[in-house]
Amino acid sequence: MNAEIKQELNSDKTLPKEMVLVISNLYKSFGKNHVLIDFNLEIKKGESVVVLGKSGSGKSVLIKCIIGLLKPDKGSIEIFGENIATVNEETLDKIRARVGFLFQSNALYDSMSVRENLEFPLRRHWLEVSQKEVNAMVMEALDDVGLLQTVDMMPVELSGGMRKRIALARTLILKPEIILYDEPTTGLDTVTGKEIIELMKEIQVKYNTTSLIISHDLNCVRMASNSVVVLLDGKCYARDSYEILKQIKDPNVTQFFE
């Protein structure tokens, strides 16, 4: 199964030509701190792109600009052909229903049970589904992450790895076409981190999603990517496959692979 997934992920033949995310000349600063400077990135449907960068290099800012949580100072972010920076609230919500976001801290609602956490995006996006369908979708998402038994538990009762899986299930429930992962393995031990990466790969194959992963975990970069972007000084410094970037003799790139 894993070999098949890896082959599928690394094979360019499986990537259709359709662009799902195009970032052009993106600028974002906070006061005098210029975080993103003329950042450009294109992602095709089915790709799994990892953005690699130092802490504080603007990786999380980039991903929050993409989902519309932060407004860029300049430039455009087109998702499915719509510019996130200029669309109205209604269109933004429609786009967000097609884009999943896995938060670094999981962001599970502490006051809600696992079931309520998963139902929340379904109900908030005004999807016209019956309670029976909602239940079925919740159970399917939990089944995908292998945690059916936790449906009536509270987030505080779960371990770190389980919380990450539940957060992933909540992301999956709307069947997004793009999933944005913010440091998916941060705070997890190596074994659990690997399990999460395997799960991400299985989900990508099962639902044919496109992934943009923010990480500085080399295991994650190696296992989950078919393209790696090096974010340096607010720009896309280099982009290639993990194997090629690893061999490049540029200190700005090799520092990430040592």
């Binding site: 519309g68 967000r96 976001f101 938060f103 801290s105 609602y109 908030r124």
Partner: protein, 256 residues
Amino acid sequence: MPLPLNLKYFLTEAGDLSRFTARFFQQWFKPRYEFAELFRQCYIIGYKSLPLVALTAFIMGLVLTMQLRPSMVDYGVESQLPAIVGIAIIREIGPVITALIFAGKIGSSIGAELGSMKVTEQIDAMEVSGTNPFKYLVVTRVLAATLMLPVLVLLGDAVSLWGSWLGVNIRSVTSFNLFWTQVVDSLSYSDVMPAFIKSYFFGFAVGIIGCYKGYNSSKGTEGVGRSANSAVVVSSVIIFLLDLLAVQVADVLGIN
């Protein structure tokens, strides 16, 4: 000449709080209306505060009566005890003490809850789930606090008067009907209405300050604690300032 740091901080906070309040009024009227969450918050903020409010109100009525009694006896006006206690509770002590208890319980709870949601990205998660977090979290809590505090004040006043009746009966025998008649006869429209109206403003102040402090929380868990703490301190001070203002306004309108 540069402004002193404390004054600059105070003015910045006042400006930010004003903008936050203006945003509340803008968002309040806009659909989508979060009625289910509003009712849930009314239950949490109102119903769940009732035992604490009732307990403190009961003790307040009882103690106030017991403390006043010796002086009233000295002046030979012991029979006026229900009237004096009634006016004191309804006009001032009931609304202000209930509001301060409310600020301690609800203000801190809102500040800590929203602060914790902010630092753990739950507010961002709501936004990407197609929810306006300001409407869902802030508008509902502020409205619930505004609507529930006057109800708690009314119930607290009633319990307080009951405590006062028990206080009267420690040293003498007075029927509840007689006690109640004396209280009601001593009260006028100008005693009840300003006190009732100002409790809406107290509730609004506790709600908006708790939400403002929590929603703008930063610096991790330390910031959450600070938000909860400053929500209580600031709303308590604002309650006294509003009380002062309410007396002046009632005076100007001739209903004091």
